[in-house]
Symmetry: C2
Amino acid sequence: MSASRQPRRVRLKDVAEKAGVSVGTASDALSGRGRITGETRQKVADVAAELGYVANALASGLRTGRTRTIGLHRQSPTEQLDKPYFRQFLAGVLEVGQRHDYDVSILSANADMPRSTAARVDGVIVVDPLSDDLRARELMLSALPVVAGEHLPPGLPECEVVAVDHRRALSELLAPEAARGVTRPLLVAPDEHSGWGNLLRDVFDAWAADLGAAPAHGYVRFGGWDDKEGFREVLQPMLQADEEADFVLVSSPYGVLAGLEFLAEHSPTRAVRFASAGPDVGGLLDHVPEVGFVDLPARALGAACAERLIELLEAEAGSARVSGTTLIEAPVHLPQ
Amino acid sequence: MSASRQPRRVRLKDVAEKAGVSVGTASDALSGRGRITGETRQKVADVAAELGYVANALASGLRTGRTRTIGLHRQSPTEQLDKPYFRQFLAGVLEVGQRHDYDVSILSANADMPRSTAARVDGVIVVDPLSDDLRARELMLSALPVVAGEHLPPGLPECEVVAVDHRRALSELLAPEAARGVTRPLLVAPDEHSGWGNLLRDVFDAWAADLGAAPAHGYVRFGGWDDKEGFREVLQPMLQADEEADFVLVSSPYGVLAGLEFLAEHSPTRAVRFASAGPDVGGLLDHVPEVGFVDLPARALGAACAERLIELLEAEAGSARVSGTTLIEAPVHLPQ
DNA sequence: GTGAAAGCGCTAACAG
DNA sequence: CTGTTAGCGCTTTCAC
């Protein structure tokens, strides 16, 4: 390797000189700003292309205060790459990020590690905001624009939200069950730190009330999506204690599997119906067509979050927008 | 949301003033540079902590020419998140990146899309360099330090390489097979665009030659790791045409499955042994203990690449290092 | 050992 | 419509 680090990158000044204009002119000729430029614009563009000019993002960022980078926050993100949900969410964010020429930076979850790197992002997406996530709270209290992917749990500061329309999806999923008749519905979902968990309980309880049935609740920790054992530990005692329980909604396909397993082992004749409200992983429930489920569109949600955040960022002048919620639809697989 | 964008971030100047020193002094008090600072150093550090000062990476980057960001390049990276190999590689990169306070930016693979964002990275890791990847070639020809994750195929410019010690892993994997006796060994691996594929063929052929056996080769496209059908399409004619073939090495566990399936369907009595040299995905081969495999440590490889790249970047003064190769070990699962 | 000042490459005011 | 100028916040000579 040679000794020289960089072979003198071509600067805007170089382009300007060669095009016979000033840097100022060259600048907004290229970025097509206000002062419309007749043919000078074309000329500058040509020279820029010829020289292979590419703007120094650091310099323009320093000047404008924006980095064209969005941050993605989730608890211990490194591990989470193994979770299909997060992975697909990330893929969605990356896709629209690249389309809009934004970089995506996966934020370090260790709040303890001093990030000198900090504040290199224009805004942040918080995947699955949890009320006991201190770093998320910190981000939301900061001046950075924040978009939450999924509903906010009580206790977190307000911010822009993009979420799945769980209310609609669930009502679609639950309707056929009600038609079959349900006396004692059980729900196992993430605890109160999760906005999603809370919403599930809300909708579930309302639905049960409509039926004149008394619902029962079980709780799992939010991150335990694929923790079948965890689900079993919660479900088993509930099913055992409640002989009349005839319908179970869980927050993950693994919960369904756990429940089915338990029944097969202990009361093969007992008739209990299951449904999943959580992110499906390809095919897990394909072999049990009698189980309906909502398939959370992680990728679409990630894309929508990025879209919304970038929209916010480009909106320029703090247009005094109150934080709002954008809903996206989730496909519902009804039971056979 | 309020209208004001940023609440006036605390600048180095603020720290300097409050500490009663100049910015210059404050600067290298904090970064512990040359001019040793007795107690001024402590004072500045205290004030900085008190004010919650965090350096503006853009500004320092502009000045120093380094961004503390490393890029990760792979063909169509968005899709690739679904591949366990890439995902784990990425996890490794992220992990050491965060440890060294480097951001990781997943580079856009579309060479056609003009990236104004470009050159915001100090160096690049190219995962699985392929000789027909134009973007990879471009990166390697640029002035940016590049580390290739896996061996270079012929045709690509030289660069620093971090790779799995396939030679060693394979010899370990193949040894017991030779002991069992092999007359006609088959290899199905990525084509000549992949350095890894080439290496597999090298080692495989040498091993076969040692045995006095004539090897046969089949080719698959590099990205088709989980394309079982693709493997079958290559393997089936080879096995059919070659009645004596008694050992098959493939570049993916899916290749093994494809081969076993074919045999089960068409010649259940035929004795052919299989082995996989490619990235294992948890458990795919657990049910066939008679099949040995190398389990490519994607995460460790990613980590090693990042480690090496950062080392290169921090090495400062272009210490005229010739590009070299770092090998890491892969676990080998011998057949039962 | 420390302060002052120049300047990284760019954009945004302000003149003309 | 275009040129000139002043910084963005930091690091880095160069004086003292």
